[in-house]
């Protein structure tokens, strides 16, 4: 290859032909343009006239130049020009391809595969033997060099691992002999990398491909004072905005984004995403992900540290008397905590065995199990104590389970025997865990226990009354803390437990409890079973056959082939293991000076051959026009015709499709959609299929108008970008392999449509061969790709008692042109057949999707004259199938319009019976 600046030529010797151009100049100059033949009666008058000017005898110089340019462009084109050529090394001998295969490789996996394929193709062309080593799954023995084509066949099965490669002895990994190496690095430095690089350099040329962007990963989520904090770790300082998403199931069980936090980095290596979530929402979070990065490292799994807290409620003074539940000191605590925490009752000794995150002691004077409680608090427990008559009467001097020393007796303000008004609350100080909560004006305190003044009192006070006396005090003790409310937990001393502030305060306290990552001591000694594992792309999937790991291994937090990241459980505890190893500091890889580095994001080589040849062709066309013009064969109309043709060609060149700006639905279209029941279809990307869909919906509409009270308007082609889907009830979506996936905004609209009770009928039009072949058809794969971001509940093959079988007609088959099974929302697992009822009450509401491959539109489609557009089956059996297809369509529309009305009909006998009584 010849390289001239940014240009390279694959066949440079062809350029020698450029030297022949001047010869062409003389050749072309000698040839005059061909004459025009004209009939002309006046020729007799011309006879004998001589030409004086010989200008047209020779080709004009500019025409010559045009021709030579065309020829030069063709020569250059065939010489294979490449912009930014990849310096090709005349390499021979074996080639070893090394792929890190870690989670950090997952984000640009397709680019890596393309690079490997390119290397394999080049090696295959050069006849070099190739071997491939994936460091995250090192082969047990050094790999043997083999045919590149064989390796290329195995490429699609290659997947990144969710862990980083472990340190490997290069001697055990590398084949014998000399070879060149292409190392596709993930860009991260790790122990053993330098040794391996040195070993590879010793064997031959080492070239390294690595991404230009720094690797980003999420660390372990931690409970912070104000919410959940997720650290963001980069391999190199960067400036930019990163979005961290908290994902979890919504009330219907669909995974969705629950919250989003933005981290703005300004040339920094680390950042922190802070999620201030209500307890209910936080309990639902299953994982945090870095938006736009598909890598296991960009996923932080939520485990027990973020989950519901276990709180033990202990009241002093033995069991409350029966019938006095409202006076129980625990009543308000139970009401306040039960929405956000799991409550444990019983004695303190029993509760400690259950390892609660927090213990609430309401009016307990002296803690009997002081040693055990102290130990528990030191390990991270939060002890919340409430005052009361008993505590006030106890001598608490030197009690380590109180944050402050208390005066015996307490005080009473605003009571019948006291001076002064009941006290209001002062605003919470900024450092307090309660900071930011709104204090209701009617919260007053009439009795409290008083703290002994001391130097630390102000620092320990997290809530105070308007006169400055402490209301809540806090002290740290080991990893945990002790909190004291200076009022009782019931409404005797204050109306704080009656206010909305009380549950909020408790929720904040409880949330901060138990946030500590379980230490080695917590995990050791137990066998942890993985239940859900992360793959390299950050997808979480259930696992069954995986060996349990010892807790000590888990506690080290170093994921590997034997310890894949995911969720591990033991008993009712669960622990998450992230792909990012514990304590891992991401640093960019450093390569030895001799290695050639290709950055993944640099300019790609761009072949210019096509462009040069197109230019040559264009110039040749221009030459045709110019030659005609010089020959006087272009006049008037011919020129106009050519101009029109040229213009048409220019217009036909596909301009970069300007993205249609999102526009509102045209008002007349909206009115048309709203004034009737309108069946819509979503364009499939194939005009023929769309026409059939429209004709099919028209045929179904005619049938509906004939047989039912539904009289649909003309079917509409849905424009997802602008149409208001709320105006439609049933959308038919024929899916082909070419169907484009909607944009994120369009997915939002579709999801809103589905949530609001709309239905989409997906039709892959392939007779559902998916199941028969065991592998999805093209349309089926495309359907999976399209439907993945849609909020679709679990699906099941339609049960025989589904409401679709009886919304208008009684049918059991749902054929179109084909007769395959269809899929609808799975019935509730606990659906039972009621006594004496023929049907189960399966689901509430309308199934949001019906999926099948029966090509319904073709069965419904009618021509303009009302005759069927396509044959169905053969003979009368086929006509019967078409009839059933129409019945299915009618049932479907009825189902969308009436919901599970027919399902509710099963209760009619019971209602009638009751009315009769």
């Amino acid at each position: 290859m010849l390289v001239l600046g940014p240009l390279g030529f694959t066949a440079p010797w062809l350029l020698a032909a450029l030297a022949a151009l001047p010869v062409l100049w003389f050749l072309l100059r000698a040839t005059p343009p061909a004459p025009v033949r004209r009939r002309f009666p006046g020729v007799v008058l011309l006879l004998g006239l001589d030409d004086t000017d010989a200008q047209a005898e020779r080709t004009p110089w500019w025409l010559l130049l045009l021709r030579m340019l065309a020829l030069a462009a063709a020569i250059v084109g065939f010489a294979g020009p490449v912009l930014n050529p990849r310096p090709s090394v005349p390499a021979t001998g074996p080639l070893l391809i090394v792929e890190d295969g870690s989670w950090a490789s997952a984000r640009d996996w397709s680019g890596r595969m393309a690079r490997i394929r390119e290397a394999l193709n080049a090696a295959s062309a050069a006849g070099r033997p190739v071997a491939l080593v994936v460091l995250s799954a090192p082969p047990p023995a050094p790999p043997a060099f083999s045919d590149a084509a064989t390796l290329a066949r195995g490429l699609p099965a290659l997947r990144p691992a969710a862990w980083e490669p472990a340190m490997t002895d290069p001697a055990r990994l590398l084949p014998e002999g000399k070879f060149d190496t292409l190392w596709l690095s993930d860009g991260l430095d790790r122990p053993g990398r330098g040794a391996l690089a040195a070993a590879l350099e010793a064997r031959g040329r080492l070239s390294v491909w690595q991404p230009a962007r720094p690797v980003a990963a999420l660390g372990r989520p931690q409970i912070a004072d104000r919410g959940v904090s997720v650290p963001l770790i980069l391999s190199a300082p960067a400036t930019g905005r990163y979005d961290v998403l908290a994902e979890g199931p919504d009330p219907t069980g669909t995974m969705r984004e629950l919250a989003r936090a933005t981290v703005d980095l300004a040339d920094a290596k680390t950042g922190e995403a802070l999620f201030d979530l209500p307890a209910e929402l936080r309990n639902r979070v299953t994982r945090f992900t870095l938006d736009g990065t598909t890598s296991a490292g960009a996923v932080a799994l939520a485990d027990d540290t973020l989950r519901r807290r276990k709180v033990a409620l202990i009241a002093g003074g033995g069991a409350a008397r029966e019938g006095l539940a409202l006076l129980s000191p625990l009543h308000y605590l139970r009401e306040a905590l039960s929405p956000t925490a799991d409550l444990i009752g019983g004695t303190l000794g029993d509760a400690l065995i259950a390892r609660p995150d927090a213990i609430v002691l309401a009016d307990v004077g002296t803690v009997a199990e002081r040693v055990e409680v102290l130990k528990w608090v030191a390990q991270g427990g939060v002890l919340i104590r409430f005052a009361g008559p008993r505590l006030a009467a106890t001598d608490t001097a030197g009690d380590p389970l109180l944050p402050v020393a208390l005066r015996q007796g307490g005080r009473s303000v605003g009571g019948t025997m006291a001076w002064g008004e009941p006290r209001r609350l002062a605003p919470f100080p900024p450092g307090s865990p309660f900071a930011g909560l709104t204090i209701p004006q009617d919260v007053t305190v009439s009795e409290q226990v008083m703290a002994e003044p001391g130097p630390d009192l102000a620092a320990q006070t997290v809530a105070a009354l308007a006169d400055g006396t402490p209301l809540v005090t806090r002290a740290s003790l080991g990893k945990g803390e002790v909190v004291l409310f200076h009022v009782s937990a019931n409404a005797d001393w204050s109306n704080l437990p009656l206010s909305g502030l009380f549950p909020q305060m408790l929720a904040r306290l409880v949330a901060s409890a138990g946030g500590a990552v379980p230490g080695a001591a917590d995990l050791a000694g137990q066998s942890w079973v993985p239940v859900r594992l992360l793959d390299g792309f950050g997808r979480l999937s259930a696992t069954e056959a995986h060996a349990a790991v010892p807790g000590a291994e888990l506690a080290k937090g170093q994921p590997g082939p034997d310890l894949p990241p995911g969720i591990y459980t033991a008993g009712n505890r669960s622990v998450a293991l992230d792909a990012l190893a514990k304590g891992r500091d991401l640093t960019p890889a450093v390569w030895p000076a001799g290695a050639e580095i290709e950055a993944g994001a640099t300019v790609r080589p761009m072949p210019l051959k096509g462009g040069a040849l197109a230019l040559a062709l264009l110039l040749a066309l221009l030459d045709v026009v110019a030659a005609l013009w010089v020959g006087g064969k272009l006049r008037g109309r011919a020129v106009a015709g050519l101009a029109v043709a040229a213009l048409a060609v220019g217009l036909a060149v596909p301009a970069p499709a300007a993205r249609a700006a999102e526009t509102a639905m045209p008002i007349d279209r909206a009115v048309a959609a709203a004034s009737d029941v309108v069946l819509g279809y979503i364009p499939s990307g194939d005009d023929q299929v769309d026409r059939i869909a429209e004709a099919g919906l028209k045929g179904l509409g005619q049938m509906l108008a004939e047989r039912t009270t539904v009289e649909p308007g003309a079917p509409m082609r849905i424009d997802l970008a602008s149409d208001d889907l709320a105006l439609f009830t049933l959308l038919y979506w024929p899916v082909t392999a070419l169907t484009p996936a909607p944009t994120p905004e369009e997915y939002l609209r579709l999801n809103r449509f589905l949530r609001a009770g709309g239905m989409i009928l997906f039709d892959t039009r392939d007779a559902d061969l998916t199941e028969a072949e065991g592998a999805a058809s093209d349309a089926g794969r495309q359907l999976q790709a399209i439907a993945a971001p849609l909020e679709i509940p679990p699906l099941a093959q339609i049960p025989s008692d589904h409401v679709l079988t009886r919304t208008f007609y009684l049918i059991q088959d749902f054929p179109g042109r084909y007769d395959g099974p269809i899929w609808v929302e799975a019935p509730a697992p606990d659906a039972e057949q009621a006594e004496g009822m023929p049907f189960r009450n399966l689901t509430d509401g309308v199934t949001p999707v019906v999926i099948g491959g029966n090509d319904w539109a073709s069965a419904w489609a009618v021509n303009d004259d009302g005759s069927p557009m396509f044959p169905v089956g053969s003979g009368s059996a086929g006509e019967r199938q078409r009839e059933v297809a129409f019945r299915f369509g009618i049932n479907l529309v009825m189902h969308v319009l009436t919901g599970n009305y027919k399902s509710d009909q099963v209760h009619v006998p019971a209602l009638l019976e009751r009315l009769g009584q």
């Binding site: 025009v36 006046g42 007799v44 008058l45 005898e57 006087g632």
Partner: protein
């Protein structure tokens, strides 16, 4: 039947109608009559004498006059018998020559009539006018002697349209036949006069000797007058017999126009010498103007 096949059938039918002479003849006749009508209605309105119908005088009946010649109404007003005498009139003869050589079958632009078509139209229109005026009309070629009457009009139209029918032989050149033209009659020659002018000059000399007066009208296509060609061109005669190649046609324009003017000058001089009149007509101009000029020229000569 597809539209294409239907179109072909119609074309075929029309071709056969032309072959039978049924298509062109009435069309040409109608066009010529319409053209003649515009002249009659125009400022050159002709008085309406009846040929031989004009009253001349009453004279006393002589012995030998047949009884049926006596005008009884005039005779009743006196004692004598009168005879109604009419003017004795000899009708003029008009001879037409519409050149039908190959060079006349030329039209440089689609939609513009061929020179031959224009010549035929003008000839027939003149025939209509003349016959309406009671004169005898014939063609300056053998086989078409001058006769009066409407029937003659149909004969002339048939002869003129003969070369329009497809497949008819197209003569390379043609010239008027002066022998058939009666003395002291009128003649009108319609041609492009691009071929050798010698036969025409000879005919003119011969005819002027016989007291025949007439008109030469040169009919040219605008392309022949303007010569709008350039570039390397091979010019061919309509029959394909003559060829002329030039490398730069535009360069020839001035000299071609000179030659054309020279040819006109020669024709004009020949006409003047013979007491004839000469004019030119372009096929992109309206035929009415040419007819008016022809009519006036013939009137003047009368």
């Amino acid at each position: 039947m597809t539209p294409l096949a239907r179109h072909r059938a119609a074309l075929d039918l029309r071709r056969r109608a032309y072959e039978a002479g049924a298509g062109a003849l009435p069309a040409l006749l109608v066009a010529a009559r319409q053209l003649a009508e515009t002249v009659r209605m125009g400022g050159h309105g002709r008085r309406r004498p009846g040929a031989g119908d004009d009253f001349w005088q009453y004279r006393l009946a002589q012995p030998g006059d047949p009884a049926r010649m006596i005008d009884w109404r005039r005779s009743a007003r006196s004692d004598a018998a009168y005879v109604r005498d009419r003017e004795w009139q000899v009708a003029q003869a008009l001879y037409l020559w519409a050149d039908d050589a190959a060079s006349m079958r030329f039209s440089a632009a689609p939609g513009r009539p061929e020179k031959a078509a224009r010549a035929r139209l003008l000839a027939l229109a003149l025939a209509v006018l003349a016959i309406r005026a009671g004169e005898r009309v014939g063609l300056a070629q053998p086989g078409a002697p001058a006769r009066p009457g409407r029937a003659q009009l149909m004969t002339l139209a048939g002869l003129l349209a003969r070369t329009m029918t497809q497949g008819a032989p197209v003569p390379e050149t043609s010239a008027p036949e002066p022998a058939v033209i009666a003395a002291h009659s009128r003649a009108v020659f319609l041609s492009d006069f691009l071929s050798d002018p010698a036969p025409v000059e000879a005919a003119l000399a011969m005819l002027s000797g016989r007291g025949v007066q007439g008109v030469l009208l040169q009919i040219l296509d605008p392309a022949e007058e303007d010569f709008p060609y350039d570039g390397r061109t091979v010019f061919e005669a309509m029959s394909g017999g003559l060829r002329f190649e030039t490398r730069e046609a535009r360069d020839l324009r001035a000299r071609y126009l000179d030659r054309l003017a020279e040819r006109r000058e020669r024709l004009s001089r020949a006409a003047m010498n013979a007491g004839w009149q000469f004019s030119t007509h372009r096929t992109d101009a309206a035929p009415q103007s040419a007819l008016l000029w022809l009519h006036a020229a013939l009137e003047r000569g009368v």
